[in-house]
Symmetry: C2
Subunit: 327 residues, 2 copies
């Protein structure tokens, strides 16, 4: 029996889900739901496109919706609304608002008898999982999360809003010395500046004052002022040629003590090096979509996160096969 997935929202993440479903024989793609005019949208694999307003008419044909909207304005309303009628998965990533989002979605999903998985991806998501496993195993320790090297969409956008900037790409880069200090087991206290640097590739308009632009970037509060930031001015052609990808990644490291007198140190490290941030996130969403469908078939409902899902639910393989091959 195949699990039928539908996509809500067709940006980079939605396209990633479309590609990820193709890699899994037990999943099939029912179609894409969009706020745009469906006839204006051509999907990568030829998947059917429907208007979001018609989605309830398709309720019986869909096992799980993967909601690919943004965390700022889309997901806070879309996920609870859709969870009344569908099993859903989202990638809500505004860390501070997760408790509120969880409460709203949980009420809706329970009302509908559906499973809603929120905050699925890699951070929140796989990184959260690894912080949790590591803390449970080594309670006497400290964990560190580093991001990058990778493109930060939010920081790239912030640079683009500066007067005289045509386009920009910003990379977040973990500081090697900080990583080494953490791996040494000394549990250092690290400032924001000590953990990450920021590197910016900027296309300036003809005749723009580059010194002013560079200064505006480096002193921008929250985004850059607390970091060592490097700015490179390049041409639009160079930007398109050398910085078109959306790589990302990072590290979750926990260093913790064991032994009668805490005399032994142990390091747990999880890292990702992703050529495509949205495609990897989509791949995680699709694995949790499979889990959502299964858990709901078994009678479960309500809001769940990656912390609530037994690993075996993510795999198309049965328990005996997993134990034999992977345990």
């Amino acid at each position: 029996m195949q699990t039928k997935i539908a996509i809500v929202g067709y940006g980079n993440l939605g396209k990633g889900v479309e590609c990820a479903v193709k890699q899994n024989d037990d999943l099939s793609l029912y179609g894409v739901f969009t706020r745009r005019n469906p006839s204006s949208l051509k999907t990568l694999t030829g998947a059917a496109v429907y208007h979001i307003d018609d989605i309830l008419n398709h309720k019986e044909n869909i096992d799980v919706l993967v909601i690919c909207g943004g965390s700022a304005t889309d997901l806070p309303t879309q996920t609870p609304t859709l969870a009344r009628n569908f099993n859903v998965v989202d990638s809500f990533d505004t860390h501070a608002k997760i408790p509120e989002h969880f409460a709203n979605v949980d009420a809706a999903a329970k009302e509908g008898g559906k499973i809603a998985m929120i905050s699925v991806g890699w951070d929140p998501g796989m990184f959260s999982l690894n912080r949790m496993y590591a803390e449970a195993i080594l309670p006497n320790g400290k964990d560190y999360t580093f991001w990058g090297k990778g493109v930060s969409q939010g920081h790239s956008d912030a640079i683009r809003r500066i007067d005289g900037v045509v386009d920009a790409r910003q990379y977040t880069i973990p500081v090697d010395e900080a990583l080494s200090a953490v791996r040494s087991g000394t549990n250092p206290e690290l400032s924001t500046r000590q953990k990450h640097t920021r590197e910016c590739f900027v296309v300036a308009a003809d005749g723009a004052d580059k010194a002013r632009i560079e200064n505006e970037i480096k002193t921008m509060p929250n985004y850059f002022a607390d970091y060592d930031t490097t700015v490179h001015f390049i041409t639009k052609e160079e930007l398109d040629r050398d910085h078109a990808g959306i790589p990302h990644g990072g590290f979750v490291i926990r260093s913790g003590k064991t032994g009668l007198n805490l005399e032994h140190n142990n390091i747990i490290e999880y890292s990702l090096k992703l050529d495509s941030n949205p495609e990897f996130t989509s791949s995680v969403l699709v694995a949790y979509a499979r889990a959502a469908a299964r858990m709901n078939r078994e009678g479960a409902s309500g809001c769940k996160t990656v912390l609530d899902v037994a690993p075996a639910y993510l795999s198309p393989c049965d328990g005996a096969d997993l134990r034999k091959r992977l345990l």
Copy 2:
């Protein structure tokens, strides 16, 4: 409410469990059960010692038993026997016999209405989990497990059985070039010899033929013949001074493709660097003991592995706290 843990078997692993319980305020140690004369055994923390034959008399006082016997002869009989009356956790690590052990333990635990977690530790255990998560997320890929640098007890024992050897310590070491090749995303085919080397520190008896010993080690089938092996002869004093620890660790790396035409590569890497292999294994056992008690309180029974346990069950913290701090 505290979860009461008891230890069966008091070797390195049992001592590790004793130390790990001390680090967790929600757990308490009821005592140690041994086949030896209880009065002959002095525990690290002063925990009570009982004879294993009396264990049923303590049934009502214990929430979970952590069985710290060996996989070769102890666990295949101890775990199913004890699972009829107790929630249990073991670290059964004979990979090829896991399906058989699972079936035996599952029948016993279901009969008793108890939870039995088998094959808990880091491999099998955390490494298995990471192989499974990574395969579910990146189905189009290949995973690699490397062990070390660390002491292999089995290989050290094999050297000690050679005529003229007084003592020995063997380190398994992953080959840097192999790790780099895997991390590059080329999904190389690696032979046994290409993945690990073996380094041996050997104390020879006075007048023993070192050339013969070295040759016997390097040509020993299964253990050494398929590896590049280095042998160092040292004194007993040097062995005790420089090689008394039981460090270990390793790497699970999966490299997998995403994108419409699988054009992007993504690397997931999990690694451990442990000063104390048995203490870390014990720390994992204790976290899963907590989970076993909870799952049984909720009415679950039968044999489980790390693949069947939702991560949040491992933590003493509640869901709202975990979502706020770690998601």
